[in-house]
Symmetry: C2
Subunit: 258 residues, 2 copies
């Protein structure tokens, strides 16, 4: 176990940049998770964990199998430097962003496609919802918040280690999915079928869009069918993560549960 005392240490500077800038996360294809719950979830995908970072005085739970994972012991000051939370638990995992081969990506047959959703908390909640609903993967198009933003990671509650989350061009994705005969459902307010009138689908891609403007009209031209969640009351719209939950649970086969 190495000990780091200085916030000027180059590794500390790298960790801090992973927390604060998308540029660093993109450049190295890495991210940092914080807290016992997220670190434990990360350790379930051990190949992704580059190192554990532990504040002095914090004990790693005995049941964690971390013998082969590099450890850093850091001072309270260093822990504070790389923490995003007010009351840090003093434990972090420095992780690689998962990557998926072309072949793996071609096997996904139930997908959530997210177009330009800007709020990191919404993106995180949508990843968590996708993981719960059992779909194969989440694809984030242009204009989306970074899925490895600390706020996104926190609201996803560990789902980044459970379901593939990749960034991509949604036009390329819809072309690819069409060529594989996977039905594509958009979301729109007009010319759309109420979600409760749709059947569950063995394979599907669902596209949800920006908090204010919805799905890009050019993408909607590529869909097989557009869905709408009826608004029975006075609210003009639903939160996009809530809408995603209602839509995904409308589309996934109901027999899958064990």
């Amino acid at each position: 176990m190495k000990r780091i005392e200085s916030t000027q240490n180059s590794l500390v500077k790298h960790w801090k940049k992973l927390v604060t800038t998308r540029k660093e996360r993109d450049k190295f294809s890495e991210f940092l998770v914080e807290g016992f719950h997220l670190t434990e979830e990360a350790l379930k995908e051990k190949a992704l964990v580059k190192s554990l970072i532990v504040r002095e005085g914090v004990d790693i739970p005995e049941e964690w199998d971390v013998a082969e994972v590099p450890h850093y012991s850091v001072t309270a000051q260093v822990a504070k430097e790389i923490s995003e939370t007010e009351h840090s638990q003093g434990i972090f995992a420095h992780c690689a962003q998962p990557e998926f081969t072309e072949e793996e990506q071609q096997r996904w047959s139930t997908l959530l496609l997210i177009d330009a959703v800007q709020d990191p908390g919404n993106i995180g909640t949508m990843i968590r919802t996708a993981s719960a609903s059992g779909v194969d993967a989440v694809i984030l198009g242009k204009g989306c918040a970074d899925p490895f933003n600390p706020k996104t990671v926190r609201s996803a509650q560990g789902s980044h280690f459970q379901i593939p989350v990749v960034k991509g061009d949604l036009r390329d994705w819809t072309d690819q999915l069409k060529s594989r005969n996977i039905p594509i459902f958009g979301t729109a307010l007009t010319n759309a079928t109420p979600v409760h009138e749709t059947e569950a689908q063995e394979n599907f891609a669902l596209i949800v869009g920006n908090e204010g403007s919805g799905v890009d009209p050019q993408l909607l031209q590529k869909t097989d069918q557009n869905l709408v969640i009826p608004l029975y009351g006075s609210a003009e719209s639903l939160n996009v993560a809530v809408a995603t939950g209602i839509l995904l649970y409308g589309l996934v086969p109901k027999s899958k549960v064990e």
Copy 2:
């Protein structure tokens, strides 16, 4: 239009406390909303608006009918003092919290009951979702975040002016609803019916619970039936606002839409 220049003005101090403390909101049964969208929504329930507060240089949209509403023009410094956001739009409405008579409350026959949900953003999203789903009212039990917290108000996007939101004792509420033969649905992980196996209900109360521990077991003993959202994938749970959306849209009659 009165002009206020000092942050030491007693009204400014009252507005600031409405933004920052639940005690002030509870004591006066008032709250402050910020921004063009929320102020416009507030003006749709004009009886609730005690005054408009406008930063110098900010124009009230011409189409707003505000002739009878008291106005205060305030300096940038005063506006900053009472603002909760980083980039304030410089427009606020000082509002009374809506109140409902016993008789009105007895007429509500589709209700969302919230038990000890702590995150203000979740509460706001749930109020917005309830308003969209068309239920009659939202009841917040003990341990819930204040529905008039600025974060809650912001995430509800104006739904506070569209759907009754009241604080109450959920045991009293379940007793009252039972005496009116309104079926009560709890949410639980065991001994529960998958939500997609439930029929839509003309009248119902749905109880959802705390982010970590769910609905109080003592409340669950008073329900007619408990519902569960199956987790088909790896995530251990859903965000409570997402879950509320799936459950409410499972229960509300699907024919209501116009």
